[in-house]
Amino acid sequence: MKYGGYAGKLLRVNLTTGAVEQQDTMDYLPNWYGGRAMAARIAWDEIPPGTGAFDPANPLIILTGPLTGTAAPFSGRTTVSGVSAQGHPVEWYSRSSFGGHWGPELKHAGFDGVIVTGRAPKPVFLRIENRTCTVEDAGDLWGMGIYSSQKKIMERYGKDWRVFSIGPAGENKVRIAIAATETESASGQGGYGAVMGSKNLKAIAVHGTLPLEVAEPERFTEVCRLVLKEAHGSHGWPHTAKLDPYKVKRFGQRYQACTQGCGVKCYDARFYTTVPAVLQKGKTLSGQVDCIAGLFPGFEESFYNWNLGFEAGFEIGQIANDEGLNHWEILVGLIPWLRFLKNDGVLNRIDGMEIDLNSPEFWAFLLRGISRREGEFRSALAEGTVRASQILGIGKERLKELFPAWGYAGHWDGHGDRINYVFFPYWIVSALQWAMDTRDPISSAHGYGQNIMGWSRICSPELGLGWDRIKKVSANVYGSEICADPESGYRGKAFPVWWHGQRSVMKDSLTVGDQVFPRIYSLRTEDNFARAGNMDGPSFERHMFTSLTGIPWNDGDLEHASERVIQLERALLVRNWSRSRTDDESVIPYFEKTEQQTNPLIGKQVALNPEKFKKVMDEYYTLRGWDKGTGRPTVETLKKFDLRKEAEELGDKIVEKD
């Protein structure tokens, strides 16, 4: 292998024929440098128009990046791509990612990724160890939950094996099915668990002892050390989290990394060692609670004010994981939608059981019924909330309050997602990110909205920065203070979407945690712009990448390669699904509702002005080199990114120049 960091081979498995082949990772390097980037290349080359999520031809593309499994902090993640089962109005190309220790294990087993096509005649799993892969019978695993499936394989092969598995939801092609590893590391969005299920693929078990080379060991060691030291608190915010003394004592609460390489005390990631079960009486449960799973018990005095209590909430979260269901969809989309319908007097019972969000029995009945497609209502919900509303013919208006677009519940958007605090004008950026994506655009939205809000004194009263300072620091990356100005309205909102678009690709391709990067704000420098050694915060990823791989790129080279990925993904959407500006604008009605929070500098809640927003869309298309009328890359732009052949293939679907 010419470059450091990479394992050197990709596994190609055709489950229809049982053929297992190995391909050199070099075929895609350096341009398609890992994860999401490499997946886009594979998708363009191998997903013909007309391919649906459950077609055997749909490749399930599971890829690590060069940094995965190395000493690079926050680098343990793996991306999953392919035609998505959750996608709406059509199943189209999208992506997801997961943490834990599976990706690093795969690389030590000699592979940078696994691309699975076809459909096995009967349930199987893949057994991957040190440059070998066999297709094994999964007859005895089929029907098992994600935890039992992992345990069974680990009992057979060893405790140090890592298993990425689906549960009953994936087996039953539930469109909100996850595939996951450990107790809380899921490829959550996208319904890729259902794609796995459609291939009769229960799990992928990996174990490896092979080394990964490092191009410049001394520099890489130093860069990683500096980056880890600079990292602040959870989510890249200024403050660190604390454990809850009561929960430490009562439930064995402790910090647990949700991803290999994580080096901060996180607000979201907690492991519980001893939680008394409520439904499974007499049992003591253990497992991780990350991110949105903390919402299962319900929060008093919030929009999510059901009250399951901690123990039952924990148990329901673990049941959802084990069954293989998407936590975000359940908690931010499905449950609030059901509650709206109940409060509106539209719906009181589901498949014979009364809707009672304070009852753990109801939650278990609901979730297990969805994953097993039991009853008319829960079978409809197995298609995801958006499709269920259409199938059942109810709750269409309420849906618009919770689901911005593409079949996904709100996420850092200032409207349907009432957990995350982001007000106007920052959610204009979220709205544009939503408009340009095929899923919730969260690895971009974390970088902008979450970062600014987290560093403001509103979310961090003690350690946060004043607005003037936030504006000044952000000008280092956006070129203008307007882009992060709380009183800037619609001005300067396209540029951050453009910039964070590339950064999002970078995170999902290298791979590094999307909550932490890019590093912009800091408490450790006088001017509060993140720096370590002679590196500016936004170039941390590039320094880790070059010292590890030996690929001699500067910041501009890595950003250009990352933007190329966005161009190719868009070209794929145009070629296979005729994506256009009309689709992008379908997010507008959702944002035309009044926001949930209030910007104190404005003093009142605001709604989206469609005409002003369309001008921001124009600016974005111009920055990307896309035709403003169609929202599609021009021939000229694709050529600029060395995508000449792709431009030719798109023919008259695209125009020469804007």
């Binding site: 499994g69 140090d160 080096g263």
Partner: protein, 135 residues
Amino acid sequence: MVKLVVNSDLCTGCLNCQTVCALVHGGRQDRSASSIRVELEIFTGLNTITYCRQCEDPECRNACPVGAIQRDESTGAWKIDYDICIKCGECITACSYGAMFLKEEIPLKCDLCNGEPACVEACAFNAITIGTYER
């Protein structure tokens, strides 16, 4: 003199200690080159860190038939002199803590990175800290 002070109860399973140890000592990401190892318990969350105590009267040193394990008087680390080592593996068998490892027939042992252990700096949760003592 220094030694590692380890509290496995605080280990989050990030493995930063293990990856950085391998990197510093072998110049690549080779798990078998690491002298500190974390055994993950993914369903109970109670991980275990295996590490060298730099014992006062070390079993590894006592078991070595050729006297290849010698104390670094500046840090207190017991280090293998590979010019003397005959790769018999007696030290690995002797260590009650299982804290010595075999890598391609060569024994591996924590050398405390000349007094500034990379694993300590990489652990953000104080599961691995450094303790000083007088001799």
